[in-house]
Amino acid sequence: MKKLYFDVSKCVACRTCEIVCCVGHSLSKDLFKSVREKKLSLPRIEVCIGKDKNFPIACRHCKEPKCVDACIAKALTYDFEKKEVIHDKERCIGCWMCIMVCPYGAIRPDKKAKLPLRCDHCVEIGEPQCAKSCPTKAISYKEEPE
């Protein structure tokens, strides 16, 4: 299964990934329209400053996901076939347990929607927009090494 990989030596912190993530999760999927939507979408990836490099941080769909264990509402489940953590918005109550346990700080709260912001590999579009758009190709979406 494919995963997101980050060559941080190439990350220049342009934050294109954040913007295209927002656009990819907007209703319109269109940059100009997305900034005028009633409920603005928020990035599920964030460029974080490391010691001397920049790290785009997003949910990595752990094989033994702590967030799934911690979810008291059974909103988060692990799909063994897709090897992805799936979030069911209908079940989620916004308790932030997943944020409390994510070892990578890769889940962030959308306080207005009371939903955790987590990478879903742009399931609506079919391919992660961050990897598609990264101008330095620091982000790639590729098969996991065996």
């Binding site: 913007i19 295209v20 940059l31 005028r36 603005l40 979408s41 758009s133 101008p135």
Partner: protein, 640 residues
């Protein structure tokens, strides 16, 4: 985005695929590699004006809402936009400055290679500048005029001269809202100063100055360039010509001039018809010298001398792919630095000529007014001498015949002609509009851009406009695109125009789409609009005219300046893609709502060419309605 469109094109397709086979990267691949373009930049939300930054504003609201200095999205997008306008204005104005300087040198005898060609126009313009013309020698008038014009670049107060052509209402608005340009360079410098860190932070105040800069372009630098070029080289007049890449010839020396300022290219025209050089060409095995243009240089030598147009901005690389170009001469603006790389795959020489624009890998022959003709001859000779190096097996000139077009039917020409030599008049145009035979006038101008989702937008838009009885005027690459599509011929009226427009074209013998020249010649549209107001009956000021403009595929900062001088002059302008303001709610509102309240002009952004046409037609109709003009004579829906 538009590779598919290019591939399907009978003429461009084989050349594009040739580049692909050879592994040569062209603008379409480079565009794809840049996608998606940075959202911060696209929305106008990044600022690198000072070392507190670079900063950017989060358009989705969670991150930074202002830069380190405290500038908000409003300020940042306004500052960026004003700088774009200043840059575009600088390009046109600098172009105008070159022309004025050459006129001065010609008048004082510093160069013997230029002279006043249109004395009538010289006198007319001189009078506008309050230069005495009676009983004076031509060169005395030309000297005084050129000096006056040049002095307005650094003029500190007062008003620039040519803007006095505008209707009173516009001038009143400009004075009331501090939009009236005081000088040309002066306003650009003030724009740069205002947009520095910690200076002007009020987007409305910034944008007011932005419009002042743009007006200094349209009614200043650009208009100067147009008028003085006409004085030096003569006004355009109709002539039959050819367009597209198949104008290149297998058996001739192919010399392409590319860029914007016609000073050298005009003399290259002369040099290429020099019998001595033609003889040399024959000696080298060619049957003659074939001179063609690309970009606005093409438009300049097309409308005045009828030389063929090889292509517009997007075709500059494809032209080289023919392997048949012996030399390409470039000066400045819209020149791709990749040309020199592509040329290495063939025998083609690329020669840069402007001291202001050098390109790595190009041979440089610097242009000097004092030695203009010898330099032009030298370059033509270089082309001829390179002809034997052409590898005939590598030559691939499109087989399809070049498209005919009749340029030089400027609005000035057409209606001057109708009114008669001594009574030039826009009356026939105004009357056709009042009678509902012609709906109105649309300017379709500007660049071409590989980013555009639906390529061919110029052609689609213009066809839709003329079908709806809108007379179209064109400049720049847009004109070249429609020229290739066969819209710039009188015959196009029969095939594509609505019934009313067709009747007018038939009576006059003109195309439904008029080619006015290069991109500085957009100023001709301003002048024509003033004439329409003066003639009366279709509006007492520019904002009342049933007129609209569009730059469907704009890309250059020059286009932003042009768009703004039209909007600041009370006209409606449509861009195929927005300029970077969407990141600021206030700036977006300013562009779409506030500006109209100030100048009467109006902005619109729409990527779909058919929808563009509808927006422009609706705008023209709303102006017709406000003027209580007669309903359209023919229902255009009938012959759709």
């Amino acid at each position: 985005m538009s590779q598919e469109h290019i591939k399907k094109d009978e003429i461009q397709g084989p050349l594009y695929e040739r580049a692909q086979e050879k592994g040569i990267e062209t603008i379409w691949e480079r565009e794809t590699k840049q996608e998606p373009h940075c959202g911060f930049g696209t929305l106008g939300l990044c600022c690198k004006n000072c070392n507190l930054g670079p900063c950017r504003i989060d358009p989705f609201g969670e991150g930074a809402t202002c830069g380190v200095c405290g500038a908000t999205a409003d300020t940042i997008s306004a500052r960026n936009l004003v700088r774009h306008i200043a840059a575009g204005t600088s390009c046109h104005s600098d172009h105008g400055r070159e022309i004025a300087k050459t006129l001065l040198m010609a008048a004082t005898g510093e160069t013997k290679f230029y002279k006043v060609s249109d004395e009538e126009k010289l006198k007319k313009i001189a009078l506008e500048y309050k230069v005495k013309v009676d009983n004076r020698k031509i060169n005395e008038i030309a000297k005084d005029l050129a000096e006056k014009v040049l002095s307005e670049y650094g003029q500190q107060k007062g008003e620039i001269t040519l803007i006095q052509r505008a209707p009173e209402k516009q001038k009143k608005i400009w004075n009331n809202f501090s939009l009236m340009p005081r000088g040309i360079d002066r306003e650009v410098v003030e724009a740069l100063s205002r947009t520095n860190v910690g200076v002007d932070n009020d987007y409305k105040n910034l944008m007011a100055h932005g419009m002042r800069v743009a007006l200094a372009d349209g009614w200043g630098g650009s208009m100067v360039a147009t008028e003085l070029t006409d004085i030096l080289f003569g006004k355009p007049s109709p002539k039959r010509a050819k367009a597209n890449l198949s104008v290149l010839k297998e058996d001739q020396v192919n010399l392409i001039v590319h860029g914007h300022v016609p000073l050298l290219s005009e003399l290259v025209c002369d040099a290429s018809s020099d019998p001595e050089l033609i003889a040399l060409a024959k000696e080298k095995g060619a049957t003659g010298i074939n001179l063609a243009g690309i970009c606005c240089t093409a438009n300049e030598i097309l409308v005045r001398r009828g030389y063929p147009v090889a292509g517009d901005f997007l075709q500059q690389e494809l032209a080289l792919m023919t392997g048949a170009v012996d030399l390409m001469l470039v000066d400045l603006q819209c020149i791709m630095p990749t040309l020199s790389d592509i040329a290495t795959c063939f025998h083609t020489k690329i020669v840069s000529t402007s001291p202001k624009a050098r390109f790595p890998g190009m041979e440089h022959v610097e242009f000097k007014e004092e030695e203009a003709l010898p330099i032009a001859k030298k370059i033509v000779r270089m082309a001829i001498e390179n002809f034997p190096n052409r590898d005939k097996t590598k030559v691939c000139i499109p087989k399809k015949d070049a498209q005919d077009l009749i340029p030089g039917f400027t609005t000035e020409y057409v209606f001057d002609m109708l009114g008669g030599r001594y009574r030039p008049s826009f009356k026939p145009l105004n009357e056709a509009i009042m009678a509902g035979r012609i709906r109105g006038v649309a300017g379709v101008v500007g660049c071409d851009n590989p980013k555009m989702a639906s390529s061919g937008s110029h052609e689609i838009l213009v066809k839709e406009l003329i079908k709806n009885d809108v007379l179209v005027v064109q400049t720049g690459c847009s004109a070249a695109a429609c020229g290739r599509a066969g819209l710039l011929t009188p015959e196009a009226a029969f095939e594509f125009a609505g019934k009313g427009l067709k009747e007018v074209c038939e009576a006059v013998g003109c195309p439904p789409v008029l080619h006015l020249g290069s991109c500085v010649d957009n100023s001709r549209i301003l002048t024509a609009c003033c004439e329409m107001v003066k003639e009366g009956g279709i509006g007492k000021s520019l904002d009342e005219l049933p007129v609209a403009g569009a730059a469907p595929e704009w890309m250059s900062e020059k286009a932003i300046a042009i768009g703004w001088y039209f909007v600041a002059s009370g006209l409606m302008v449509l861009f195929g893609m927005p300029f970077p303001v969407y990141g600021s709610d206030n700036m977006t509102k300013y562009v779409f709502e506030d500006v109209e309240k100030i100048t009467g002009g109006k902005w619109s952004f729409e990527p779909d060419p058919l929808k563009m046409a509808k927006i422009m037609i609706d705008h023209i109709d709303s102006k017709r309605k406000a003027l209580s003009l007669k309903p359209m004579m023919y229902n255009t829906d009938e012959h759709r």
